[in-house]
């Protein structure tokens, strides 16, 4: 289970700085328009008031123009039942936002430093969703933007995928050696050790197609050749990869010449994958969709116990998917934090919760480091595992939109 961990990106904050603040005031939403939002400390104050008393929900700004510099937006939902979030946009890019807005909650605020130009406050669900907001003065330095930070994270994620496939090559070579030696117990153990590398990056399978093969031909589909289960076989190609080896080691409990051939073939295909991923590039939204996709994998194949039909090491794969999702999120985190620190922290918190739950199944003497995921365990525990994962998946599924818009 020990994996070379990639280095986390240190967030070098640029000119657009967003800090989280909870306004201390109660329902004080009185206008500061007379002073054009200027406050003695040099921070301009802008009130965003959401109200739904006159039929359609409204999103009102006061004032709608301030001088360049730090600006605190305080959002109060007085009575708008149809608005739950507010974003500050420029050129359709998100600079800051607040979610979980509802009538009756205390006002919330965010502060951002803005250069001169035209911005929009976006209130999805309001009668008028976009309201212009003007900042007078010099334009901001565009360096170090959120978008640049996200792109940097996506590039670094590519390096992470490379480390995983490199480690996977070692893992499947160890599996092949154990199989060749005829030692069933050693081969079972090596199987469990090799699995997590693939599970961490299996969201990227769209790119796992060998050059020259059409996407519809499984002969060139490395995901098929490496990770296909018995339930989804293509008769034209046959069964290859991890799960065919798993069937021999855990189902038939014997190593045959065919097992050795499968293990050698697996090494060959994983080596091809290792070379292939070096050529792949990722966009920030690939990371966001990939993180949510890995948790979908957990829900559909691991919690159901379908992935590891013979070895029942589904919790090992679960951990692999979860780690892969967390890595993808970690590379987006510096950029996401500038947009919405509260949302970013919440997702981080949900990762921690799911990890803590999964940690209760770790056993140092278990295959792959976890208890065996038996039908009995599934019956008693799948519900809470599934609900924890679903909460995380739901939060992650909203990221792609933010990342594309950032």
């Amino acid at each position: 289970m020990s994996v070379p961990k990639p280095t986390r990106i240190s967030a070098a904050l640029g000119s657009v700085v967003v800090v989280l603040g909870l306004s201390a005031c109660g329902s004080g939403t009185s206008s500061t328009a007379d002073t054009a939002g200027e406050q003695p400390g040099g921070v301009a104050e802008v009130a965003i008031t959401l109200a739904g008393d006159s039929g359609a929900d409204e999103c009102r700004l006061s004032p709608d123009s301030v001088a360049a510099g730090p600006v605190t937006f305080t959002v109060t939902n007085q009575s708008a039942t149809g608005i739950t979030e507010v974003e500050l946009l420029q050129d359709q890019r998100i600079l800051g936002e607040k979610e979980n807005l509802a009538p009756g909650l205390d006002p919330v605020s965010f502060t951002t430093t803005l250069g001169g130009g035209t911005y929009q406050v976006y209130c999805p669900g309001a009668g008028t969703e976009l309201t212009d907001f003007t900042v007078t003065g010099a334009a901001a330095d565009q360096g170090g933007s959120t978008q640049a930070r996200l792109k940097q994270g996506a590039n670094q994620y590519g390096a992470y995928v490379d480390t995983q496939t490199a480690a996977m090559v070692h893992g499947v070579k160890a599996l092949q050696r154990a199989v060749d030696s005829g030692d069933l117990a050693a081969a079972q153990s090596a199987y469990a050790e090799a699995r997590p590398y693939y599970e961490r990056i299996e969201s990227d399978v769209d790119g796992f197609v060998l050059p020259g093969f059409p996407a519809t031909d499984n002969h060139g589909n490395l995901d098929y050749l490496i990770d296909m289960r018995a339930s989804n076989l293509d008769p034209a190609v046959g069964w290859h990869g991890f799960h065919a080896v798993e069937r021999d080691l855990f189902g038939r409990k014997q190593i045959t010449p065919s097992t050795k051939k499968l293990a050698a073939e697996l090494t060959s295909n994983v080596t091809k994958l290792d070379h292939l991923v070096a050529t792949l590039t990722y966009k920030p939204e690939d990371l966001a969709n990939g993180a949510a996709g890995l948790l979908e994998e957990v829900q559909t194949n691991k919690i159901t116990g379908e992935e590891e039909d013979f070895s029942h090491i589904d919790l090992v794969d679960f951990a692999g998917n979860l780690e892969g999702a967390k890595e993808a999120f970690a590379y987006l985190e510096p950029g996401l934090r500038t947009i919405d620190p509260a949302m970013t922290s919440q997702i981080g918190h949900r990762f921690s919760q799911t990890e803590a739950l999964l940690d209760t199944y770790r056993r140092s003497d278990g295959l792959g480091g976890f208890v065996t995921y038996t039908a009995a365990l599934r019956h008693t525990d799948a519900n809470q595992l599934s609900q924890s994962v679903q909460a995380l998946q739901d939060s992650l599924s909203k990221l792609a939109e933010k990342v594309v818009t950032a």
Partner: protein, 436 residues
């Protein structure tokens, strides 16, 4: 399951929960500009949506007229008095779900209650929870969409707070409603932990089942990470009558709710809390019981015996001492030395005359869970009742569970109790007073 509580002859329309007492004798529903789809005609009694966009007061529903359905009607949420879905005349369908709080901070609960409140207001008005088709690439929809264009369908969503919310670690124990605690173990209880308890309840009732289910689904989705789903029942065929409604039948084929509380003054007396914590003023308590019926056994019982078990005639629903449904049962009448209505019949044990005057407001629905492992129909009654002291249910069920002839044919397999806070005013949210 049947027949607690005498009601006077049906008076005017109902009292919508939602209204201040002065208005409480009129059904206040507003009609949106909604045209029912072609499919609506397939439902008996459906009034195809009139296009009137203005809110109307349909102060109607005297007699049996409120048994018809108008899918364009909506019920107000922000009344500042009682939550809807209690005194509101029962809609045709209801989805009930309970949840466990999994977050350890009261702040998460607070935000969820505020967001649920705003969402419930949207849903009851027949609106979506944000975009069904979001404009931006890569977006997930904020509303799942299946209730789009179905109309408000008189949806009501009623929130309950379970005893578990007031445990010490959340810091809310000072605000615990005075009478809120887990129900004691009761005679004949056969409770399955999988259909028992919950820290929060949502009861979504509507005249279109998809509108009710959509509400529960999207509210559950909104709660993920803060609450886990615990148990749910999808109810159909209201098994209790509200004011102005004819008495419906439960799955045993008997009228259910003949003597239900209907008169607003009686509801004031027996349903809304008095002398409770401040934030519960205008609130009530909800008891939910999942009651499985042994359908096959019941169906093979002669009707004469079924009538003896219930204490009423099957077709008319008259007490065995009378001839018409609303005749008052005479529990002292004897024939050949034997009581005409058996003291262990369901009616006799549940009647307020025999329970120190205790009455509760029932709002049950029939349910089915399909077929059980031995091939029998798995069906029964989702019993929901509102009262100003859960002890009133306990008192009734102690007697019923001990002696009811009906116990041979039913089994209480699920149970939960909740405090039901009052409705918020505009700009506020359900149970806001908890966090003061």
């Amino acid at each position: 399951m049947d027949d607690a509580n005498e009601s006077p002859a049906p008076v005017v329309a109902d009292g919508s929960d939602a209204q201040p007492p002065t208005n409480s004798r009129r059904r206040r529903l507003s009609r949106r500009g909604f045209v029912a789809g072609a499919g609506a005609g397939a439902l008996g009694g459906v009034v195809a949506g009139a296009g009137a966009a203005a809110a109307v007061e349909s102060g109607d529903s005297g007699g049996g007229s409120s048994d018809t359905i108008d899918l364009s009607l909506s019920v107000p949420f922000y009344t500042g008095l009682h939550q809807a879905g209690i005194q509101t005349p029962p809609q045709r369908y209801c989805v009930f779900m309970t949840f466990d709080l999994v977050s350890r901070t009261s702040r998460d609960l607070q935000v969820l209650l505020a967001r649920w409140s705003a969402a419930i207001a949207q849903l009851m008005a027949g609106r979506t929870l944000g975009a069904v088709q979001p404009p931006r690439a890569g977006s997930v929809a904020s509303d799942t969409g299946e209730a789009l264009d179905l109309g408000p369908s008189s949806l009501t969503v009623t929130l309950g707070l379970g005893p578990g919310l007031f445990r010490p670690d959340l810091g809310l124990s000072h605000a615990r409603p005075r009478l809120l605690e887990d129900l004691p173990r009761l005679p004949s209880d056969n409770l399955d932990p999988a259909t028992t308890g919950g820290d929060l309840s949502l009861q979504a009732c509507a005249d279109d089942p998809q509108v009710a289910y959509h509400a529960i689904r999207d509210l559950a989705r909104m709660g993920r990470g803060v609450v886990n789903t615990r148990w749910t029942v999808m109810g159909f065929g209201r098994a209790s009558a509200g004011q102005g409604q004819s008495t419906p039948r439960n799955l045993q084929g008997f009228k259910d709710g003949t003597r239900n509380l209907k008169d607003p003054d009686e509801i004031d007396q027996f349903v809304w809390v008095r002398d409770d914590v401040d934030w519960m003023a205008g609130g009530t308590y909800q008891v939910a019981r999942k009651i499985r019926m042994n359908v096959e056994t019941w169906d093979s019982d002669p009707v004469s015996d079924q009538e003896r078990v219930i204490g009423r005639s099957k077709q008319e629903g008259a007490p065995l001492t009378g001839t018409a449904e609303h005749d008052t049962p005479d529990f002292s009448a004897r024939q050949g030395g034997q009581p005409v209505i058996a003291p262990t019949s369901h009616v006799a044990l549940a009647a307020h005359e025999n329970n120190g005057g205790v009455r509760i407001l029932r709002r049950g629905y029939n349910y089915t869970d399909g077929i059980n492992p031995v091939g029998q129909l798995d069906a029964g009654l989702l019993f929901i009742a509102f009262m100003n002291a859960p002890e009133h249910f306990v008192r009734l069920q102690r007697r019923l569970g001990s002696a009811d002839l009906l116990n041979e044919y039913i089994s209480h397999i699920g149970s939960a109790v909740f405090a039901v806070p009052p409705a918020p005013r505009s700009g506020h949210y359900l149970a806001e007073g908890l966090f003061d």
